[in-house]
Each structure stands twice: as structure tokens, then as C-alpha cells.
């Protein structure tokens, strides 16, 4: 139990997010109306994805400094969870856009950035699948992971700020931390970010354990 307190915390935070996020009062804003509650589900996905992909890059760097199959599996697992959270983020955002902008997808810097990020990590998975040799796969995909993150990720935070965007938080649209994120919403938003990120870590832990076990069984069969 002492080691698993954070799983209990995850469950509590997410329960709190779901209940409080759907029931507590939110500011009434034109157009946004009740869809503002998506802040508790959509935005934490991107926070969580960034944190988890960063963790994946950290494991890749550690792998290059000190190669071991375990670090490679960890980095791969975190990248996979990051992709999952990115896809959920795209889905929730798209659903939200349908009800506020009236369309599933528009040509917008933030949306395009998210799509490009998914393409990059799709390429990462393709790269991983095109090696026969385990060590080479681990090394080369670690290099690509670091390179792609360094080359593209800063841009997703800079580019949308250089151009006007329809997305909340840019171009004078109702934004985060300006006037609509009042202190009541903060009370739910920050726990939501922590909760969803911890959920991502949990998923990763399970998938990494599973693939480590699979590797173990595979090695036993070979022996």
C-alpha cells in the first residue's frame, strides 16, 4: 500500500474531476456555455501528453548514455501512452469544436500542430517496426525520439502564439488564465491535470510490465 498510494490518489482525483467537473458551477460565457467543462478533460490530455512524452525522451537519453533493454521498453511505453493521450485529446477537442465552432476540424495552428505531433509519433512507431535487430532498433529509435522532440515540440508552443488562432487562448478568444478560468475552475482544473497525468503513468506502468514479461517468456523459450 505504501508504494501504491499514488494509484489511490489517481482514482480519487479522477472521481473528483468527473463529479466536480460536471456538477460545480462554471462561468456563463456566450457560445461556450456548458462546453467549458471540456477544460477538465481536453486540456489535461495535452498537459499529460507533453509530460509523458518528455518522460519518454528522458528515458531515451538515459538509454543512449547507458544502454539497457529496460530503459528502451520504458521509453517505448511512455511514447505509446503519449500517443494514446494525444488521440483522446484530438477526439475530445474535435467533439468540442463540433458544438462551439460547428465543425469537426478547421485549419488552425493548434489543431495542425497536434496533428503533426501525432504524425511524428506515428513515424516513430513505423521506425521501430522496421528493425530486426533489437539493440539497433532501441538505439536508432531513441535517437529519433530525441531528435523529433527537440525539432518539433518547441514549435507547437511558439507557432500558435505567433499567428492568430481560433482556439481559446489565442487571438483574443476567451482564454485560459485571462478571465474565464476563475478560481472555482482552478480548483478542479489542477487536480484534473495531475489525475490524468498519473493515469497515463499508471497505464504505462502496466504496459511496460506486460512487455517486460513477454520479453522474459520469449527469452525462456529461446533458451
Amino acid at each position: 500500500m505504501a508504494k501504491n498510494w499514488w494509484k489511490a490518489l489517481t482514482v480519487l482525483l479522477l472521481l473528483y474531476t468527473a463529479v466536480a467537473g460536471l456538477l460545480l458551477p462554471v462561468p456563463r460565457l456566450a457560445i461556450l456555455n456548458e462546453t467549458i467543462r471540456n477544460l477538465y478533460f481536453h486540456v489535461p490530455m495535452w498537459f499529460g501528453m507533453t509530460i509523458i512524452l518528455l518522460t519518454s525522451v528522458v528515458f531515451s537519453i538515459r538509454y543512449l548514455r547507458n544502454p539497457s533493454p529496460r530503459l528502451d521498453t520504458l521509453s517505448h511505453g511512455f511514447a505509446q501512452t503519449g500517443i494514446l493521450m494525444g488521440l483522446v485529446g484530438l477526439a475530445t477537442g474535435s467533439l468540442w469544436a463540433r458544438f462551439t465552432w460547428g465543425t469537426w476540424w478547421t485549419n488552425d495552428p493548434k489543431l495542425n500542430g497536434a496533428a503533426i505531433a501525432m504524425l511524428i509519433y506515428g513515424a516513430y512507431l513505423v521506425l521501430r517496426s522496421s528493425f530486426a535487430d533489437d539493440q539497433q532498433r532501441a538505439r536508432v529509435s531513441a535517437i529519433y525520439n530525441i531528435f523529433a522532440f527537440a525539432a518539433a515540440m518547441p514549435l507547437f508552443f511558439i507557432l500558435p502564439r505567433l499567428t492568430d488562432s481560433l482556439h481559446p487562448g489565442a487571438g483574443g478568444n476567451p482564454a485560459f488564465a485571462k478571465y474565464d478560468l476563475d478560481s472555482n475552475m482552478r480548483l478542479v482544473f489542477y487536480p484534473a491535470v495531475i489525475g490524468w497525468t498519473l493515469l497515463g503513468v499508471w497505464i504505462t506502468q502496466l504496459s511496460v510490465r506486460l512487455s517486460l514479461l513477454k520479453q522474459h517468456v520469449h527469452e525462456k523459450q529461446l533458451a
Binding site: L64, G113, L119, S130, I143, A151, A152, F156, L159
Partner: protein, 213 residues
């Protein structure tokens, strides 16, 4: 490092092939648009130009690692430090792409007209673009060369990373085309320079790990 550069330069047999590639691509574009009377709207001119450059760059840089024999790589490995190899490759590729881009621009302006109003800004965009493409694609081609089916992988790995760079380039060159004041594009140019530096530095740090395997 200079020696390595010269070694690169010696295997330039593919250069004429690349020139022909650029020439025929531009001509195909010209013929495809000739139906509209040959004059493109300015944004389309810009976008088409950068797409031609993108594909040329991918093809030109891919030759760097993919067409190199295993024996020659071992020879380099014994001879020089990996940092020298990556710098020489980036430098060579940047010059190659710059040359190709200028030829492409010449041919393109010849057949499709030249709506550029701010020539210095446009040319510096082309220089920045050549540098950026070279430093991104050199490492990507090194990565792709290690894997099976490298040619497909080259495009799959390279394009998403290059999209942000390409967007900045298209934006700045659009400003140059419209003859806007320099101050309008200063922040984009600075971002692009910073991006080139980041990509170059990361390639420099990561390449030794790739080279070792």
C-alpha cells in the same frame, strides 16, 4: 574535416541527375499550369515553389547516407571523428541544396514568372531553408539508412519534423513576395534561425551514437 568535405565533393556524380530532376519537376509544374494560361496566383506560386524544394531536398539528401557502401563508412569511421562527419555532411548538403534551390528558382522564375518584390529577403529565406532542410534531413537520412525500406522511411520520418520549418519558410517568403517591410517578418526569421541552431546542435550531439552502431 576539410578532407572529409572533399571526399563528399568527389562523389558528386549524382549532381547532374539532381539538376535534371529539378529541371523536369519545374517543367512538369509549368505544363500542368499552362492550361490556366501559365500565370499562377501568388500564394500558389509560393506553395508550389516550396513543395518542389522539399521533394528535391529529400531526394538529394537521401543520397548522402543511403548510397554509401558499408566499406566506405567503416573507412570514415576509422579515419575521422563522428562530429567531423556530421558537420561535413551538413555543410555539403547545405551547399548542395542551396545550389539546387537557386537553379530551381531560376528555372521556376523563367517559366512561371517572378512575382518576388523583395529579392534580398526572398533569397535569405532560400538560404535559411537550405540550411534548415540540410541539417534536419542529414540526421534523418542517417537514421533511415540503418533501417529496412529506407526510402519510404526517409519521407515518413522527415516530413512531419519539417512541417513547422516549412510553414515558417512559406510565411516569410510570402512576406517577401508581397514586398512587406522587414519588421513584419523579423520574429519569424529569428525563430527560424533559432530552429536551425537547435536542429544543428541536436544532430551534432546525437550523431556519434548513431555512427557507433
Amino acid at each position: 574535416m576539410q578532407k572529409d568535405f572533399r571526399l563528399e565533393w568527389r562523389q558528386r556524380a549524382a549532381l547532374s541527375g539532381m539538376l535534371l530532376y529539378v529541371g523536369s519537376t519545374v517543367f512538369v509544374c509549368y505544363l500542368s499550369f499552362a492550361l490556366r494560361g501559365g500565370n499562377l496566383p501568388v500564394p500558389a506560386w509560393n506553395a508550389l515553389f516550396w513543395i518542389i524544394l522539399l521533394f528535391t531536398a529529400v531526394n538529394a539528401v537521401a543520397k548522402g547516407f543511403l548510397q554509401e557502401s558499408r566499406g566506405r563508412q567503416l573507412y570514415y569511421y576509422a579515419l575521422v571523428k563522428p562530429q567531423a562527419v556530421i558537420l561535413a555532411k551538413i555543410g555539403y548538403n547545405a551547399l548542395l541544396l542551396l545550389g539546387l534551390a537557386l537553379v530551381a528558382f531560376g528555372a521556376y522564375a523563367l517559366v512561371l514568372g517572378n512575382p518576388v518584390q523583395d529579392m534580398p529577403l526572398f533569397l535569405s529565406t532560400v538560404v535559411l531553408g537550405a540550411l534548415g532542410f540540410a541539417s534536419t534531413l542529414t540526421l534523418v537520412s542517417g537514421i533511415a539508412a540503418k533501417a529496412a525500406n529506407s526510402h519510404t522511411l526517409m519521407a515518413v520520418l522527415g516530413f512531419p519534423i519539417m512541417i513547422p520549418m516549412l510553414l515558417m519558410l512559406i510565411k516569410i517568403s510570402k512576406n517577401a513576395l508581397d514586398g512587406l517591410d522587414w519588421s513584419a517578418s523579423r520574429s519569424s526569421v529569428l525563430t527560424l534561425v533559432a530552429l536551425n541552431l537547435i536542429v544543428g546542435a541536436v544532430s551534432y550531439v546525437l550523431f556519434p551514437f548513431l555512427w557507433r552502431s
